[in-house]
Every structure is written in C-alpha cells, then in structure tokens.
Amino acid sequence: MVRHRIASIAGVAAWALLPTVLPVHYVDLLVFSAILAIGGLGVGFLLGQAGIINLAQAGFYGIGAYASAYCIVTLHWSAWIGLAVGLAVSAVVAAAIGWPILRLNGHFLALATLALLVIFNALFLEWDWLTGGSLGISGVPKISAFGYALDSPRKFYYFVWPLTVAIFWLVANVTRGRTGLAMRAMRDSPDAARVMAVDSTVLRAKLFVLSALLGSISGTLFAHYVGYISVESFTVERTIFFLLAPVIGGLRNPWAAIPGAIFVALVPEVLSPLGDVYRVLFGLALMLIIMLFPAGLLGRWARSDGAH
C-alpha cells in the first residue's frame, strides 16, 4: 500500500512538473491526448464492457463542438450554455437514433454507426447557416476557469487533465457498480442477462447516450482549445482515432484509454518529421497491434478487479 501511495504521489508530481520541462508543442499534444481520451473512453467502455461498437463518435464530437461554437460565436451565449446545448443535442440524437439501431449486433451495428457518421458529416457540410459549411467557425473564445483565462497550452493542460481524470473516475464507477455487472452480463450472455431481469434494450440505449455525451464533452473542449472548427475535424479518420485509443490501450479496463490516447496523439507527431511516410508507419503499427495484441498493448496488465 505504501509503495502504491508513493507511486501515485510521484505520478502526480511528474504530471504537474511535465509542462514546465516539456516544449510547448508537446504540452499541446498532451492536451489533445486528454481530449482524445475522453471521446475514446466513450467508445472504449461501450465496446469493452457492453460489446457495442460506436463508430459515430466523431459525429457526437462534432455536435459538441458546433453547439459550443454556434452558441458562443453567433448567439453570444456563455460557454456553459454551449456545453449544455451540445450535451442535450447529443443525448437526444443518440437516444432517438440509438433506440432503433442498437437492436443490431456485430458487423451491422458497426456499419450502422459508420453510416450515421457519414450522415452527420454531410449535414455538417450542408447546414452552413449553423456550421459555416466548408469555411467552419472561427473565433471560439478561450474558456476561463475561476476568472483565469485558459489561453495557453500549459494553462489548458492543468485544467483539462484533472477534468479528464474526474470523468474517467465517474465512468469507471459506473462500470464497477450494478450497471457494470449488467453490462458485462449482457455482453457475455444476452439470454442469461435477460433471465436476470436486465432490460438490455433500455440499458444499451442508456450506455449509447453516455458514450455520445463523452464525445460531445470532448468536442466542446476541442472547440474552446483550438478556437476554430471545420468539417475536416469530424471525419472517419477522427472516429478511427477515438476507436484506436481504447483498443490500443486495451478494452478490459476503461482507464487504459488514457495511455492509448497518449500513444495515438504522440506517435504520429513523433514520426511526422518523416513527412507523409509517418502515416504508413502508423498504419503498420496499427495493424501489428490489432494482429498481435488482441487485448491491447496493456492487455496483460490492464485487468481491473471488476472488469473481466
């Protein structure tokens, strides 16, 4: 226990000191990792605990980002209302669409959510009164926390990471409790779960909504951090990143999405001096991980007590 505590204190100290020693560029990437981790958590717990693939996450990420940007830039409302509107729209859309499509399984569900993303993308481009079309929306202001403007990567880092950990902690609690048991029962044996009075239709819809909410929060943070959003940010490639973060980390433990997200955000960047070749190397790394480590890179160590 003592060793455990020393390790956590050392971890927190390292986290706090990191931005002071790292170049700003890497702090920036670590902020993106946190944003990616939140959306990735939404995909990861849904896939790992309930066996539901959500490839529409970049769409919910877009809804969060556009809602925030529109409410603040066009309507001049506060950042909190922007966040709330994004969450509300994502929840309603996820519930309305999730209800019919979540009766699908396996490949069909994966395809349905991917098709949903294509629809979102077309709408983001088409509804230019709302989204600015291909021009996007610029000038999303920085948020301030406690009267302190988060206008540099370092400041944002100290805001976004505690928030990320808090969100992970909340979601991990859900997966540890009764709901988590019900989810895993539903994943491993749908019939037995039904006998135990797990209403899988309602549970699946609720979890899908929770996943979409995480995507939306992630999108709101992204809009505030970057200040400019356009359709480019919400494509299939983004969804693949949201999927990769938890898959690379390992699906058994929701927390593994954090190292996964750091990997996914940093590796392409480390390889980027090579030019576009980095995409090839990244693709190869991706294939090797999927083929050789089906349980994720951290699979062996990433089993949490409740989650298997």
Binding site: L47, I53, P100, I101, R103, L104, G106, H107, F108, A110, L111, A112, L114, A115, L116, V118, I119, A122, L123, L125, E126, V236, I240, L243, V247, G275, D276, V277, R279, V280, F282, G283, L284, L286, M287, I290, M291, P294
Partner: protein, 295 residues
Amino acid sequence: MTSDLVFQVLASGITNGFVYALVGLGLSVIYRGSNVLNAAQGDFAIVGAMVTVVMLDRAKLPYAVSCVGGIAAGALLGALMERLVVRPMLRRKATDDSMLLATVGLGFLIAAVILVTVGKAPFFLPQFGGEKSVDLGNVTVQRHALILIATAVVVVGALALFYKSTHLGQAMKAASIDPEGATTIGIDVAAMRTATFVLGGVIGSVAGILQTPLIGVSFAMGIAVTLKGVAAAILGGLVNPMGAVAGGLILGIAESAAVLTLSSAYQNIAAMALLIVIMIVMPNGIFAGATRRGG
C-alpha cells in the same frame, strides 16, 4: 422539373448503381467465402484505379494494358491480404470484431501508402469509348456509362458461371459451405480462401477502374466506396452475391430520387439512411425468402 431531367438523373443513378453493385459483389464474394466483412474492399477499387492511372499516365502504356495491370494489382492485393492478415488472424482465433478492425486498419494503411507513393491529388482516367454520348429517346447517356453497365453485367454473369460450372468455383463454394467436409474430399480450404480474396480483389479493381472516368480517384476515397458497396451487399442479402446487383441498383436509384427531390448534397444521406433502415427492417436483404444461406 422536366421529365427529361428526371430520366437524366435516373440514368446516372443506374450507372452509379452498377458501380455499387460491383463493389458489393466483391464484398459479398469475400464474406461468403471467408466470413470476413472486408472494410478495405473500397481500397481494392482505389488501388486498381491508381495502378491503372500510374501505368497509363506515368509509364505511358496503352490503356488496355494499364487496365490489365490495375486488375492484376487488385488480385495481388487480395492474395496478400489473405496470406498476411486474414490467415494469421484466423490461426490465432481472432474474433469477428478484431477481424473487422484489422480490415479497417488495412484500409488506413493502403490509403497511406497511396498518399506517399502517388500523392494527394485526384486523378481521372479517359472514358471508355471516348467522350461520345448516345441518345436514348430523351436521355443522353455517355458511351462510357453504357460500357460500364455492360462490363458489370458481364462480370456478374461470368461470376455466376464460374461458381456453377468450373471446378475451382465449385471447390471454393464447397470450402465455404462446409470446410471440414471439403477437407475430407481433398479440397485445400486455405487455398480456396486465398482464391476468394483474389476474386474479391479482381472485382473490386474492375469497379474502381470503371468509376474513375466519372468521379476520379484519390487516396482517401476507400472507406466511402466500401460503405456504398456494403449498403448494396446488405440490401441484397450479404450471403447472396447476385443480390448485391439488385441492391446496388436500388441504392443508385434511391440516391437519384434524393437528388431530384432534395438536393445533390442529400445523395449520401439518402444512401446511408437507406442502409440503416434496411439493416433494421430487413437484415437478410430484400430477397431473404428467395435465397438459401450459404448457397
């Protein structure tokens, strides 16, 4: 809205429909032969088209030779995919989910390789039969569109004949329906699976080459092409390759209806919404009653 316009849009919908049909046909052939839903099928089409472009524009080879090269590249890619990705994963008893993920990853990798080797810009191929068009009543149809449709019909017919009357085709069918039984009578099931992927690669690259004169080809298009093909294949019932043809046509016509009644931006929305609805309402495709699983 004039009826001429309606026919014109419908004609282009049908042309697109045959492309979707071919992509769906490739998907369906692979799915039936190996139970792998190949998310990289669209990338087979992109590779086939890109190799043709490179051979034609950069190596200055004749168009016909370039097309053969493109198709050969598709076949080779199919074989490589089976040997290097699918077979090792099956040996490890990978789940369906991780297999699907692997094909998504492969699509990403193929797109990256094309980006590095050929570049970002979109490319076009010359139309088959020149830039000429043919008048059919009130509708003007490009000669290329007619050749495209004819080629698609020939591919479909040849495939049906191949499965029905050739030794290899029947062996491939047997290996997919009952792998153990097929092994007992001396069929090399793994080799048949390779052959299935080669066939999927050939059909995919033909689709890619045919659509490039109309919409061009660029490195990141693969996933969009895959999704249209998936929609066509699922509409027709995934295990029934011929159903993909009807599925592709329905999809193409539904898209043109959306273009006519809403706007061209709704073409993709209509196609994807149709895909979702069909999966929910008719998961076995529109011919569910008429076909037999695996047959």
